[in-house]
């Protein structure tokens, strides 16, 4: 024990203040436990500070400008001036408001906040090392520990984030000035979202992707409208290329990428954004001390109560198995806290929705038709194209469709895939329907407000039942 080392005891120690950790801490406190939340950087974690929230702010702000400037067919002629610095400042204000809110919520619920980096010290203890020189450390003795350390961007060899022209997603959302050009390495959802923002702001964007498609893992018919829209915004796609290195060249840089055959292509650009994925953060935790080690994916295996192999240590969010999604982390945080409080909670959800905030948006929940077949269901599928939706036409954006997947015999909804305007919002209704064990009939028989995009889910359900009104039945 070093000088200045203080020791405190707590019922629940939560390591990491992102959407998993702060939710876990608040729920634990609500249930009467003494909860301590340790955060080494910023409350709200990646999601609020560097990810979901700032990117959505930038997407919306960009859309306002872009849509205003592209509404001639509605009789609107405009050429908006974008002050990029002000746009970023507004975004930062939104982030500050939210993260401040999280801190207040934690305090109002009686959560002890502690700044520093926590690591296991053995014997149900955490050592929290405070930031900065000579700040010392302190020890927390816990009854339960919830690990919510999240993830960080994967670095590609040859592209160190410390180098000036090389950006990770966080840096790309915090640039002072817009570059003239950028190479985006990786056509996953982060690369695609940021590419779209930058392209709409007039940046010359080239996407370099190792695979031969954008948004791999999503069905083709969902990604196709996104790729087409991106191309129409001037984004160049270069598939089948692995980024290899960069070097300075004149005012800018040259990014070199190799194809399968070892042939090199070079791209002149001002900046390069590396967005090839995220990796769980476990190396700061000194897991040895508690007898845990990450699995092959670098995650901590958990059971349906979010428990690791160590009885009183839970793992939630990106360090736990499953998709790296904030809302999944939050749910796991609630469950872990409730289990720690002795409640019979469990991760028994049927489906985790996911959204990609590209243009148009993609959202999915539950099973696709193929996945339903694999699980032994006989799938019934219904779709509804937005071009048949009155409301979609009135927004000027009628690209895409809603598709529902259900069990043919029982009619139970199993999944939904949406590409199109407000897909991220529309998927919520279908997520609820799936969790509730609703049938196609239930969704079809529910009156939906006219004229709204949400009617499309009702129509898709009717289509699956063979009696859609506004589209031809199968």
């Amino acid at each position: 024990m070093v000088v200045g080392d203080v020791s405190t005891g707590t019922d629940v120690a939560v390591v990491g203040g992102g959407p998993g950790g702060y939710v876990a801490a608040i729920r634990a406190a609500q249930l009467g436990l003494d909860a301590t939340l340790v955060e080494m950087d910023a409350y709200g974690g990646t999601c609020l500070n560097y990810g979901c929230i700032p990117s959505k702010a930038m997407i919306t702000a960009t859309d306002v400008a872009h849509d205003a400037g592209n509404a001639e067919e509605m009789g609107v002629y405009a050429d908006p001036d974008v002050e990029f610095g002000e746009m970023v400042a507004w975004k930062d204000g939104v982030v500050d408001q939210l993260t401040g809110g999280v801190e207040k919520l934690c305090k109002a619920n009686g959560v002890n906040l502690m700044e520093g980096r926590a690591e296991f010290a053995g014997g149900d203890k955490l050592r929290v090392v405070h930031g900065g020189e000579g700040q010392g450390s302190e020890t927390i003795e816990y009854e339960h520990c919830i690990v919510a350390t999240g993830s960080r961007p994967i670095e590609v060899p040859g592209f160190e984030f410390d180098d000036d022209p090389v950006l990770d997603s966080r840096q790309a959302l915090a640039m002072d000035d817009l570059p003239d050009s950028i190479v985006v390495v990786g056509a996953g959802y982060i690369g695609m979202e940021i590419s779209t923002v930058l392209a709409k702001l007039g940046v010359d964007v080239t996407v370099v992707e190792m695979l031969d498609e954008a948004l791999a893992g999503y069905p083709d018919d969902l990604t196709q409208p996104v790729k087409q829209r991106a191309e129409s915004l001037g984004i160049d796609f270069e598939f089948g290329l692995a980024a290899d290195h960069w070097e300075a060249a004149g005012d800018g840089i040259v990014v070199a990428a190799e194809n399968e055959d070892g042939e090199t292509r070079e791209f002149e650009t001002e900046k390069v954004l590396v967005a090839v994925g995220r990796e769980p953060v476990t190396d700061t935790l000194n897991l040895d001390a508690v007898g845990l080690e990450p699995n092959d994916d670098g995650r901590l295996d958990t059971d349906e109560q979010a428990r690791t192999d160590v009885e009183n240590v839970f793992a939630i969010g990106d360090v736990a198995p499953g998709p790296m999604l904030a809302h999944k982390a939050s749910k796991e945080g609630e469950v872990a806290a409730e289990v720690a409080a002795g409640e019979p909670a469990a991760l028994d959800y049927q489906a985790v929705p996911a959204a990609v905030f590209t243009d148009p948006e993609i959202a999915t929940v539950g099973l696709t038709e193929d996945e339903a077949s694999e699980e032994g269901f006989e799938p019934a599928v219904g779709t509804f194209p937005f071009r048949a939706s009155g409301r979609a036409l009135t927004t000027g954006d009628s690209e895409g469709f809603v598709r529902v997947v259900a069990d043919e015999d029982s009619g139970f909804l199993l999944g939904a895939q949406i590409v199109g305007p407000e897909a991220s919002e529309l998927v919520a209704e279908l997520g609820l329907a799936i969790e509730m064990g609703a049938t196609l009939e239930d969704v079809a028989a529910t009156i939906h407000t006219h004229p709204t995009l949400a009617e499309s889910t009702m129509e898709a359900a009717e289509h699956a039942l063979g009696h859609a009104i506004h589209t031809l039945n199968r």
């Binding site: 019979p344 032994g376 049938t439």
Partner: protein
């Protein structure tokens, strides 16, 4: 890939089973269908087979524990890839549970249970296995009502107590290797435990009732510390205290009567469960239902002794040990054919007496773990040698507990051979719902008066108990005479 294995339904209507012994240890490699545990229900002892190829990760109970059907008893690490859901499900079911096994086999492969999140949570709170609940909602969706009904039926099942509390209550007993508990104090009541109050009506705040439900405590049993309007008023603290100190007592309520007094030297207790309780319940039902009358007589069997002596060696040549029992069984079947009313069953509800066309004779066998009654089917169609072989085989199976339930079912008349241990006459209890049982005393030389002289003769004392609702005393006497005639003159059995 870990795989949890729940105690399967090992027989119709069986709600729990006692793990008699583990046949595997943690870390052992097992193959599919390899027996992993011996489980005793109130019907029989069965071997539970492994559903998978793999290794045993965790045994969740100790030998002697009583486990409700559906509780996870073993966690396996499965070899290779997990089988798909359908085959897992089929593998889950032991052979005994053919009905549910074939049901799940015909269902489609997917095993998702559809229920809203609130219902799933309720199921966890009430400790109900959602997958086992039949949904009554649209398209078979499981509703809140379904889960509550499932929880109710769990707790109202007479032989089933709330699983968690019971386990903790019986553990001290179950752990005793010798099945005995040393005890200067009652084993069922924990230190500081409280007796259930058992009120009809209890005042309490809704939240307190909720707490009681959550803790699995009957609020009417919680001793009240306050009164309101002359009624007992239970507080949350009362519930908490009772749940902590008293759950074990509550779980054992039926066994542990309040104010029990103990002899000075203390006492030992044995579990009244499994086969023992099954015997007890059978006996009580028979004795309390059927008015018993026992008819006694003695057969002089010098000739039978000589005949059996002569045939014994012949039987031994065929590796069959020939006792007197097969002769008695043959004689009994002859008697039953003559007096079919003794081969009957009274069906009160239907207002009829069924006269059985089968002659299936049960033979009571004393075993280390209690009385068992294997049944020799169709005695009328079998030779004495065949009967002898079958009785020996069934008795051996009963003793080593490998006998199946089928082999103990279908009897129409029972013979109990208490004389093997000693004694002359007894008053056997009918193997209900049969209507008669014949008890055999010890075969011995006894004084017999014949033609004015007393001589020593080999005799077999007989005790025939009858259900007097169905059989008259005269019929019992005539039947006994008919049987005795064939025991005294075994040549008559040749006519059978």
């Amino acid at each position: 890939m870990p795989r949890e294995f729940k105690l399967p339904d090992v027989g119709e209507g069986v709600a729990e089973g006692e793990i008699v012994s583990w046949l595997v240890a943690e870390g052992d490699t097992v193959s599919e269908d390899q027996p992993v545990a011996e489980v005793e229900t109130d019907k029989a002892v069965v071997e539970v087979p492994s559903p998978v190829n793999g290794t045993v990760r965790t045994l969740h109970f100790d030998a002697g524990d009583v486990v409700p059907v559906g509780d996870v008893i073993v966690t396996f690490d499965v070899d290779g890839d997990a089988p798909d859901e359908a085959t897992e499900d089929e593998a889950d079911e032991p052979e005994a549970a053919t009905e549910s096994a074939s049901k799940s086999a015909t269902e489609k492969a997917s095993t998702r249970t559809f229920a809203p999140p609130s219902v799933r949570r309720l199921a966890r709170e009430l400790d109900v296995d959602l997958d086992s609940v039949e949904g009554t909602g649209p398209s078979g969706r499981v509703t809140e009502g379904d889960v509550r009904a499932a929880a109710e039926s769990d707790t109202t099942e007479p032989q089933e107590e709330p699983p968690e509390e019971v386990q903790s209550a019986v553990e001290p007993v179950g752990e005793q290797a010798a099945d005995h508990t040393e005890s200067g104090e009652p084993s069922g009541t924990p230190a500081g435990g409280r007796e259930p109050a058992g009120r009809e009506k209890t005042l309490a705040a809704p939240a307190t009732r909720g707490l009681a439900e959550e803790l699995g405590v009957d609020i009417d049993d919680v001793p009240a510390t306050e009164e309101r309007d002359g009624e007992a008023f239970v507080t949350a603290e009362d519930v908490q205290a009772y749940a902590e100190g008293g759950t074990a007592a509550q779980g054992d309520t039926e066994a542990a009567a309040p104010d029990r007094e103990f002899a000075e030297g203390g006492e030992t207790t044995q579990p009244y469960r499994g086969v023992r309780r099954s015997i007890g319940e059978q006996m009580a039902e028979s004795k309390y239902t059927a008015p018993h009358v026992t008819h006694h007589d003695t057969a002089v069997i010098d000739d039978l002794v000589a005949t059996r002596e002569k045939l014994k060696a012949r039987a031994a040549e065929q590796d069959v040990k020939l006792t007197y029992l097969p002769f008695v069984m043959k004689a009994v079947v002859a008697g039953l054919k003559e007096y079919p009313i003794l081969n009957s069953e009274l069906r009160e509800a239907e207002e009829e007496i069924a006269l059985k066309q089968d002659y299936n004779v049960g033979v009571a066998v004393a075993t280390d773990h209690g009385l068992m009654v294997p049944v020799v089917k169709h005695v009328d169609q079998k030779s004495i040698l065949e009967i002898a072989a079958e009785v020996n085989e069934l008795a051996a199976k009963a003793r080593d507990r490998s006998i199946s339930r089928e082999e103990m079912q279908g009897g129409t008349f029972t013979i109990t051979n208490f004389g093997a241990v000693g004694g002359e006459y007894a008053t056997p209890i009918i193997n209900y719902p049969e209507t008669a049982i014949l008890g055999l005393g010890g075969i011995d030389e006894r004084p017999v008066a014949e033609d004015g002289e007393v001589r020593a003769a080999k005799t077999l004392p007989l005790s025939l108990s009858i259900d007097h609702r169905v059989i008259d005393g005269a019929e019992a006497a005539r039947f006994t005479n008919y049987v005795m005639e064939r025991l005294t003159d075994p040549e008559l059995l040749l006519l059978e």
